[in-house]
Amino acid sequence: MGLFQKLALFLGIRKKEVNVLVIGLNNSGKSTVINHFKNDEDKASDIVPTVGFSIERFQNQNLAFTAFDMSGHGKYRDLWEHYYKDCHGIIFVVDSSDRLRLVVVKDELDILLQHPDVCNRKIPVLFFANKMDCKDALSSVKIAAGLGMDKIMDKPWHISASNALTGEGLNEGVEWLTQQIREYIVNNKF
């Protein structure tokens, strides 16, 4: 590392880089959520289903996020675990209008929380109850209850209702995440 970079780090000018993992079922709006945070010139006009994963970057309050936007398609879900190890936060996107698959979401969430790379770490988990604008959307409280989030004791978590198309509720959630990651980093002397 160059002398200048060291100096910059010391003075706190240089932005901290953190990795977050964006997961959730297919068609829950993960790529759209990430798209919202990107700079205007980088924004994609149409979002297609992600195959595998894609890496996106955005910033929030002097923290540089590298988001691993994973594919939520059934056959790719078991690939998520490859990326658990080195992430500092998890964004879990839920389609709140899809009542039918809420049990699938709960399954996936349980698998995530029991994974050895996740269960012993105090990594913050941010839930987006997405598609709040839909008519038959469940409220964030109902989703939290439906997913049994009250049982998550060892990790900080937060749920916010959102509409990724307009951006409503997204910034609020990410600000919470930023805060949590800062604390997490300080505690872990990262």
């Binding site: 990795n19 195959v51 595998g52 994963f53 894609s54 590298t66 790719y76 690939l79 080195d86």
Partner: protein, 878 residues
Amino acid sequence: MSSFKKDKKEEEDGSCLFTGIEKTTVLQECRTFNETPVNPKKCIRIMTSILYLLNQGEQLSSTEATEAFFAMTKLFQSQDVILRRMVYLGIKELSGVADDVIIVTSSLTKDMTGKEDLYRAAAIRALCSITDATMLQAIERYMKQAIVDRNSAVSSAALVSSLHMTKMANDVVKRYVNEAQEAINSDNIMVQYHALGVLYHIRKTDKLAVNKLVAKLTKSSLRSPYAACMLIRMAAKLLEEEENGSDLPFFDFIESCLRHKSEVVIYEAAHAIVNLKCTTNSELAHAISCLQSFCNSPKATLRFAAVRTLNQVAISHLAAVKLCNMDLENLITDSNRSIATLAITTLLKTGSESSVDRLMKQIATFVSEISDEFKVVVVQAIRALSLKFPRKHSVLMTFLSMMLRDEGGLEYKASIADTIITIIEDNPDAKEIGLAHLCEFIEDCEHTSLAVRILHLLGKEGPRTKQPSKYIRFIYNRVILENPTVRAAAISAMAQFGATCPDLLENILVLLARCQMDSDDEVRDRATYYSNILSYLDPSLYNSYIIESPQVSIPSLERSLKEYCDGCTDEPFDLKSVPIAVVPTNEEVTRAQQKSEGMIMSTGPTKKVKVSREENYAQKLTLIPGIAQAGSLFRSSEVVELTESETEYVVRCIKHTFSRCIVLQFDCLNTLSDQLLENVRVQLEPSEGYKILKEIPCEKLPYNETGTTYIVLQYPENFFASVATFGAVLKFIVKDCDPDTGLPDTDEGYDDEYILEDLEINLGDQIQRVSKVNWQASWEELSENCVEMEETYSLASMSTLEEAVKNIIQFLGLQPAERSDKIPEGKTTHTLLLAGIFRGGADILVRAKLALADGVTMQLTVRSTHPDVAELVTASVG
């Protein structure tokens, strides 16, 4: 400082940065990829080590590869251009081994459509290496865009990747045809070339479409020389397929390319013209003169290409290549050895007898410096030469034995041994010298397969030389010094001497007795077997158990033995039930030879154990009910056409002979698109004695399909009635149908018939050819307990002995023995020796003494174990 010193030392050792790195350490280091932020410099070094290892042939297990692969995917977060390109390479290398490689699809599509030009081409190539047929449709849109991209690198990458993908998803790639069409107009030479490649690949199954494509492109001149070369190849291929002479526009195009400004194109055109089958001399002259001028080019590549092409066609276009002899002479002393070798071998092919000595001397000066591949070329030239000038055999043979003593690989040695064997077989004068050379060679031969072959040859040819005893020493040396395989072969060879030369028998028995103490099972078994048989002192035993090898086909024997072992019977295994091996006809052998000689680089021995035609049919026939009881298949005839080739219905017949019955297989083809045939069968009018046992009709015969109907006939008890001619009529029910759908218009059809040509069952159908090594011995053996018939005929229609021999062999369906089918030039008398087995198992031996005078006179002597068979043979000739 210390590391600097170390580096310097390493450099002096001539070792590179990566020598000594280990797979496990590198895979450990892959963990660095997971660090945030990514350290590009370090990661690039690790990526390079992985790629180095993979390219050194290191194999990663699936889990190792998957782990490394997923670690690598994290490097996508870095924006470092070099690192990203290393990642692409890594993805391509690991795509075959790692699981779930599909995960990088989105990342790669993002890169290939992104702004960074440096990423785009490489991303496309990586993307196509991880994509399978099901995923291809998802990226189709991007591929189409990339093909017509303005950036030539991107366009080329997309085109080449599509070409690779045709292997797994031809249909999807076919949809890119419009984009490829657009790309062919590109200004970039590579894009144009690749676009042409894709277009051709898409259309290659449709001859008409290829024709159109070539016709269109030959009119517009292509900028890219590579594309022009490809077009020439396509045009040449079309010309080749167009059998009726040269198709003028395409040929004119190729000829016009001889005046192209690019040398590559000129060479390609010349190469295409000289390799075309039917070219006239004037057409050829222009092409040859182009090659000739290349021979004097300062560029070594051009000289090499030209002389290589001349070498290839030296035999087929002898006169034309001779014109270049002056230029080739100059190339003999070329500093490039490959060029010199090819020049000399070409001259050997075209030269006259007088120049052989001089050229051989010239080759000898540098033969040790050229690679094995070219040595093989030299050997092949010598083989051709020895067949052309038999009198020069001593020079050539000495040269070959010298080459044999040099270092060289198996293929090289094998080709030399082959050549010597060919010379021995072709030229009796050279036999003793050749055998002596081979004996010397096996004294120090590291190739087991070759040693075994030569020992077999010694066993076959050695006993019939003037002084057989001198070979025994060489063979017994093998028993003492070699590995078990060679020892076993040596014992078989010795037994041949014992069986053929009575005065050596005693010594051989002593030697074999010694071998019975060998440590290897097979060697001991053989020694015991042979010494037992030899101790009976019975020549007829020798003949059937030592000199002649069993005549059964090996694959069938294997099958029969397996069946025998599976079924638990108390009966002993009957060797007679195994079908007899088919001796390859002369044409097949020569065709195989020509194939290997025509090619300059021999492409490795990829010979498969060939399953005989009988074997193939036997399997098919067992599927038909009712035929299984007939026993094992004895012989299948050649295909006989029962109709003209361009008629409404095409019927071909194959006659399968079993010991008591004959199965006629009629393959029928319906060429009328508006007819559906049902219940297709052949009605025979069998002659007296024949009985129809069963008819199996073909139920349905749609347009352009081949259906098969069978008739099973019982042979008459009387052998003389078995040669017969039957009238045959094809009978069927016609239903008119729609040519497009193939569905019949009505349910009711009408009966119809079609007269076929007469079907003959002749003697040849009932005889299987058998190859006898020692025909004379078998002949004498049969003299005691068999019938002999003799008859004299005059074959007025034959004007030469060759013609007569060919006709007799074909008519009788017997195998010529002891190379008696080759007639020495200038002779007016000849003795033809033939051998075979009649259905049911009676041996037949035939001696035909031929004399040429105003037509051919033939004295035919037939010996057979069955009296009627002998009479049948003599009766049917004439």
